[in-house]
Structure formats: C-alpha cells, structure tokens
Symmetry: C2
Subunit: 247 residues, 2 copies
Amino acid sequence: MAQTHPLNQDISLSVIKTACSNCNLRELCLPFGLSLEELERLDDLVSTRRRIKRGDHLYRAGEVFDAIYAIRSGFFKTDVLLEDGRDQVTGFQMAGELLGLDGISTEHHTCNAIALEDSEICAIPFSRLEVLSREIHTLQHHFHKVMSREIVRDHGVMMLLGTMRAEERLAAFLLNLSQRFTARGFSHAEFYLRMTREEIGSYLGLKLETVSRAFSRFQEEGHIAVQQKHIRILNVNGLKALMNHRP
Amino acid sequence: MAQTHPLNQDISLSVIKTACSNCNLRELCLPFGLSLEELERLDDLVSTRRRIKRGDHLYRAGEVFDAIYAIRSGFFKTDVLLEDGRDQVTGFQMAGELLGLDGISTEHHTCNAIALEDSEICAIPFSRLEVLSREIHTLQHHFHKVMSREIVRDHGVMMLLGTMRAEERLAAFLLNLSQRFTARGFSHAEFYLRMTREEIGSYLGLKLETVSRAFSRFQEEGHIAVQQKHIRILNVNGLKALMNHRP
DNA sequence: GCGTTCGCTTGATCCAAGTCAACCATAAAA
DNA sequence: TTTTATGGTTGACTTGGATCAAGCGAACGC
C-alpha cells in the first residue's frame, strides 16, 4: 500500500486509514512527538502493510534484515532457538510496539517473530528510516529512545530470570501485561492471554507445570481469577507484594 | 581534555594520542568504518576523557543521562538494584565497548557502572552524537548497529539464564570472555578475571558457591586451570561441548 | 453427536542449586 | 612478622522447581 502523498482531501477513507497520521497507535509507536507535516512524511515511509495469520512467521532467524515492523493490531512472540533444540521466548509484543530491532546489528534477523493471533503490521524499510531520521530530529531521537527502551526492558527480564523465584516472576509478568493493556485503553484488570502456559514458562525460565501451579496458587490466595486464558486481577497490591517478597 | 581541532601537525604527541583517529581501539568502538576526515570530526565530539579508579562509579542509576561512554582502557560492570536489596550484574564491559546506552530511553541512567580496575573512558555527549550522526551516515548506521548488538547480546543472556544449567552458563561465560580478549589481541587461553565469584554468580543467576564448585569441576575434568582469578583454558572444545550438553 | 487433539491441572518423586557453616589463601594493615 | 579483612573452596543438608505421570476440559473435524 505504498502511496503518494495526498494533496487534496478527495481520497478514499481506506487510504487515509492506513497512514501513520491517522493511526490511533501513534502515541505508542514510532511517530510519537512528530508534527503533522513530519507525520505526513512518515506516511510515505511506511510502504507496506501486511496481515499475518495466527501461527505464521513475520520473519525467521537467519533471514536478511531490511525492515523493522510496527504492530498495528494483534499479538506476537519472538523466540530464539539453540542448535540443540532448546528455545526461549525473548518477548511478547503488542499493538504499537516494534519488531526486528535485533536484525540491525548483523543485517540478519536473530530470532523468529510469530503471530499469536491474526495480526497486522506496518513494514518500515530500515535504510529509508535512517534517511528520514537524519532529516527529522524528533524521529531520530525517538527511534534512539525506542532502541534504548528495549535494552532497559531486557535488563528487567535478566533481573527477573536471575534473581526472582517462580511466583515473583509470574506476578511481575501479569503486572507488566496489565500495565501495557492499560496503556492501550483496555481493562487493566481483565484480559485474555494470547500465549500458552508453555510460552509463558519459556519466557520466564520455568516449566509449564510450574506456571500452572503458580496460577492456581494466586487464585487460591485471591489475587486473581483464572479460567484457562481468561485472567481477572482481583488484587493488584497482592501481586505487587508477591513480587518483592523473599521467603 | 576538550580540544580544538588541530590544523597543523605541530601539536604535542599527548594530544594526538587522545584522539579517536589515533586510538587503537577504533576498530572495536564507535569510529568503526569512518574515513580519515570523518574520524577527525569525531575527535571533536569526544570532548572529555576521564580516569575512573577501581571501585568508583562512572555513573549511578537515577542520574541524569547526557553522554555515552567508550571504554579506552580498563574493565567495568553494570548492575541494577531492586528496592528490596537484591541486585543483578547486567554486564561486564571491556576496552572499546560502550556504556550508558540504557540511559537514552528515559534520559536517566537505569543502572550503575562501576570500574573493576583503574580505567579510562571517553565521554561522548549524546546530543552531539545525534547531530554528527545526521551528517555522517556511516556513524549513524554504525551507532544503530551497536545498539542492536546490545539487544542481541541481552537475548543471549536471557537464553543463558532461562535455559542453561550452572555449568553450561559458566562455560558460556568463559568462552565469551576468551573470545572478547582475543578480539583485543590478548591471549584467548589465559587471562585474569577482573570480577569476584559473587559478581560472576550475580551475572549468571547463580550463587558464588555454585560458581566456585563449577570452576573446580572444570579443573578436575581438565578443561581449565584455575588459581584464584587466573584462568587458563586447556580445552576449548571441552568447554564448548559442556555448553550444549543436556544431562 | 463423538472421538481426537491440544492445552491445562494436579499429584508424587527427584535432583540441581541454594543455604549454612567451617576453613583456607592472599594481600593489605599494623 | 603477625593481624585482619576479603575472597575463595569445600562439605553437609535443604528445598524449589523439574520431571514423570495421570486425568480433565474445551475446541475442532468428521
């Protein structure tokens, strides 16, 4: 859906709707802080929109990198595979978040990105992003912030994997999800998990049985109500307390 | 040691020596791939050099961020502290590597950087780096690669913490150190650890006793020779085999 | 409808790493 | 030289989470 910049208002609604300038996620995404004129230049950059069906790969480890991806709707996981078959989920990404930053380093993707529900992404050719970010300082700075935020997030995960016990990890995970759903205008207290217990476990460095037991325990103690993938948070402070309570 | 750009050759050797253009680490650092003319412009950017004594902080979590730091010589660790006192070492950095990338995101540092031996760093004011990288495409691209590489590195640590057992983690750690020393022209088979067993353990999500036992075991099996902080790698392939051998 | 599949829960048992504790080595201070 | 402090090693014991195993419930195809 590459499109020339519209010079008049006489264009179809569908075309308007594909632009960053009209995306209601732009506060969470790359366009943050840009002026209207700058936003319109960004519209040209985001040349492709693609639908990815649940279970399909957006990209695979080893593929040549040439674009980063903004999630317009849907839910993804990224994972890395070791030669010996072990794998690890390195993150879950939702609308407004970027995928593919890991590929810049070697010009090849270093992980797999897989849709956990039918999703829609905007492809942003990286070389053109670099050109544009030389001209739009705000874009340049915001992009740097986004990359840095990813590093900070990873440090948080390292902290979690390195120092927390099973229940603390799961509590931290739920609170993080809740906070991100809130930022997107969804309920902070009630949501559906898009991933399986096994995927949660892989992300948190736990086995699926341990995740399941922790869920059950949280429910017994009245912190949450779980029914399969449907989660209701009944006591946020209870979860927060669990997060930094050493035995 | 801020300095105006020298227009003639009649300058003191000491001033020449402080410049990126004369730094023998530039292949490992930010200046990688720059032309001579571009390198000279970068020299102006690196306005400050500072010595950090062993045990001192280069920066602390919470401080305002305004520069990233290139390590000219020495050895650092970064760590994050949780409110409840737990902490985690998030990385060890050596000559030619960058520190402070985590601070871009919030304009405040999110971890502590502490020298593990007397060190010397180059401060690179971030706003000026952004200006310069708009003009020097190679610098812009290389900086993006460096940030991306940090993300990939963090994914590696997540993998390590999430899926590997104690001995695998330590083997991976030693091989990584060895490889980085090699890239700097030092022996790949013999080096001094700059960090304590406790710091290694914190980084690897293990207790110091477990690290110590793993070292002893590697020695018994003839993979390495350990004497306190002095390490000799006797059998690289043995270590590599340990790294992906599930019991 | 009914079987099949996949994901989830729960119980019983096991083991890798944590904990606690004693002791040793090295280096700096007195 | 002895003293003290800091860091490292090793042993005995404990435990949180892994593993193995059985059974359940929801969703889907036929």
